[in-house]
Structure formats: C-alpha cells, structure tokens
Symmetry: C2
Subunit: 203 residues, 2 copies
Amino acid sequence: MTEEPTAAPTRRRGAALEQAILRAAVDELLESGYSGLNMDKVASRAGTNKNAIYRRWPNRAALSIAAYRQLSAASAPLPDTGELRGDVLELLRGANRHWSSPTGDILRSLLSGVADDPELLAQLHEQSGDAGSGMWLTILGRAVARGEAPPEVLHPRVATVAVVLLRNEFVTRGVPTVPDNVLVEIVDEVYLPLIRGHRRTPD
Amino acid sequence: MTEEPTAAPTRRRGAALEQAILRAAVDELLESGYSGLNMDKVASRAGTNKNAIYRRWPNRAALSIAAYRQLSAASAPLPDTGELRGDVLELLRGANRHWSSPTGDILRSLLSGVADDPELLAQLHEQSGDAGSGMWLTILGRAVARGEAPPEVLHPRVATVAVVLLRNEFVTRGVPTVPDNVLVEIVDEVYLPLIRGHRRTPD
DNA sequence: CATTTACGGTACTCATCGTACCTTAATCGG
DNA sequence: CCGATTAAGGTACGATGAGTACCGTAAATG
C-alpha cells in the first residue's frame, strides 16, 4: 500500500474546514472590508467552494460577523492608575487604538453593511464592547470609593459619556484616528466637569 | 392643423424631467430606503428610463443624495423658552422627531449605504445639520447671558454633548424613536450637571 | 466492508448596476 | 417655416456577485 492510514487527508472536514473558511474571510475583510468581501473569493482562498460556506452560514453578512468575532476576541485589562482621570484616559486611548486598527475599520464597514438587519446589528454592537458600560462603572466605582466622585455618577448613561463622544468623532469625521488631544479634551472639558457637576450644589 | 403649437408636449425635457426623476427617487427612498432604491424602478416610476437618469447623475448614490437633499430642505426655528433646560429639551425633541421621521430613516440608510465613499459621506453629514454646533452655542450663549451658565461652556464639544448622546441612542439601539424620558434623562443626568460642573469649584 | 455524511467541482438562476445604440420628439437658428 | 441639433424613449446587453442545485467522491462511522 502506498498510502498511510490517517495521514495527509487531502480533504478537510468539520472544524478544520470551518477554521480555514473563517481565516480566509478574516483575510478578505482585512484586505477589502465588508463591501469587498466576495463569497467566491473567500471560498477559493480557503481552498474550497461556496457550498461549504453556505452549509455553515446563511449569507454573506453572517459569515462576515462570524469572522469578525474571531478577529476581535482579545480584550484589554482594566486600567487602575489610582486616579479617575488616568483611568478614563487609558480606557479612551484603548478604545481609540481599537477603532483605529484594521479591526476597527472592519467593524465600521460591517456596521454600515448590516444596518438594515436589526438582528445582526444588535449582535455586532454587543460584541464590539459598546454595551460595555460595565468597565466604566467599575473604574467609576473605584473613584467613588476613593471619594473622588459622588455615588450619583454610577449610572450607565453618565458613565459612558466619554466613550460615546469618542465614537461620535469616528462616525462624523471620517478620520482613521482621533488625535490624543481630543481625548484629553473630552476628559477635561466634559467628563471630569460632568462628574464634578454631580456633587450636591451647596444650598 | 389639428395640433396646437406649444400645447401638451408628450415628452418632457430638462428641468421638468429632472424634477420628475427626483420625485420618483424620493418616493422610492420613502418606500424602500436606500438599499431598496432600484434605478429601473425609479426610471419607470418617473415615466422614463435609466438613460435620462445617468445623463444627470453618475450613479445610484449620487441620485439618492440629490433626492434626499430635496426632501430635507426645511429647518426648524430655534427654541427660546427663557430657560436653558427648556431650550435644550426642545432642541433634543426636534432632533428626535427629525431622526424618527421617514426622512430620518432615509438619512440613516443613506449614511450606511455610502459609508465607503468619504466624499458623499461628508456631503451628507454637512447637510444633515450634524455640524450644527451653531444652534447649541446660541442657546448656551443666551443661558450665559442670563447667568445660568458660566462662559467656559461655550465650547463646541461641550455644547453638543446632548445631541451626540441622542444620536448615539439611534445608532446603537436600532430603535425607530427614542422615548422622551431618555431625552429628559440626558438633560437632567448629563447635560445640566455638565454645565454645573463648569463653575469654578471653591478652593 | 457497506453506509452515511459532507466536501469539491461546476454550472446555473436571478437581480441589478451601468453602458451602448438607435429611433424619434422637441427646440432652435436661419 | 424648415432643416439641424439636442435630448428623450426603447431596448438590449455586459458585468458582477449572491445564493442554489446536482453529482461524483473522499472521509468518517460502525
């Protein structure tokens, strides 16, 4: 016999094939964004054909979101500088780096590409850490414990103001990266004054 | 002669035809949004064919933006309730109504549809009155004049915080309309405290 | 070793953008 | 008033890309 058993299977299946497809899709996203992601190209890049893709995902958008999910798995640890201003700035810088990276580009092209499908849109927003008022409440909680801020600020809408403003910069300008001085401005002109404003005004 | 001169021209030209096309495009946008706007349908709805369209606009996106421009010509007058809180709330409610209207739907579908074309994107953002920090500075200026707010708040990034948060609601949730209590929350939990926080803290 | 599963190859339908070409009506200059 | 020019209408077509259908065959399963 010229062939080893269980050696060099020329035809992949299951998880192996699925990973190959996802990696191909990720590469396509990085190269061309969502609008340029082509099912035939993904298939041939993965060394397979569209059947294998459509057996796993119902359409282009679903595949792309799955690929993006794989791409953006990592999450940075929470900063803890011992001071609210430092923590906020660190968190903002992290978000800025994230949205400025190729990953961020893809996120944006995906967000606009699936805008007409509320289901997928919700999936993306959750996954993109936007809903993450959690981290903001955590660092604010520490500030409250230190006496740097009053407990009234422990409110999702208040806590996330800074990152919402940052996202707004990305959305309205078409810029690839928000300059650091804008982050500082957001912190010093908006976020910290907002926290201060929540102290009881002396009657 | 059985035919009057200059009577009942069966074939429109120039401006008349252009208007007919734009009205048809507006109707299509209202019915199906940007992603559903089909050049053949626009043409047949206008009683003409694609040639007449492509002679005037280079592609689908340009036609859609022209149609949107026509749709969103009006602009509301500035509120002046004599009190900052009332003015802010009125402005927010106006923006909420605008973005909740069919016009707002179209704007959103257009924004996501042309996201890969920075040129058109910029056109839309300008035109949609987003850049309008002007109105916010105006009502804040009145508040400063009344002594309701310190002059430090006359800063575009501070002034527009409320409307940026409102837009964020539209973007992240897929909701058709933001409930009024959210607007109130934005004003009372964020905007007014932010203004207060800009008073000199007593040292 | 027989059977079932699922991959690979290929070809197809369908929708839709944008273009080409030709005929004919409206307008304009002489 | 009439011929020339311009722009509309009709229709057909090329190109692209999503999603589907079939069929033969390799890999897993027992």
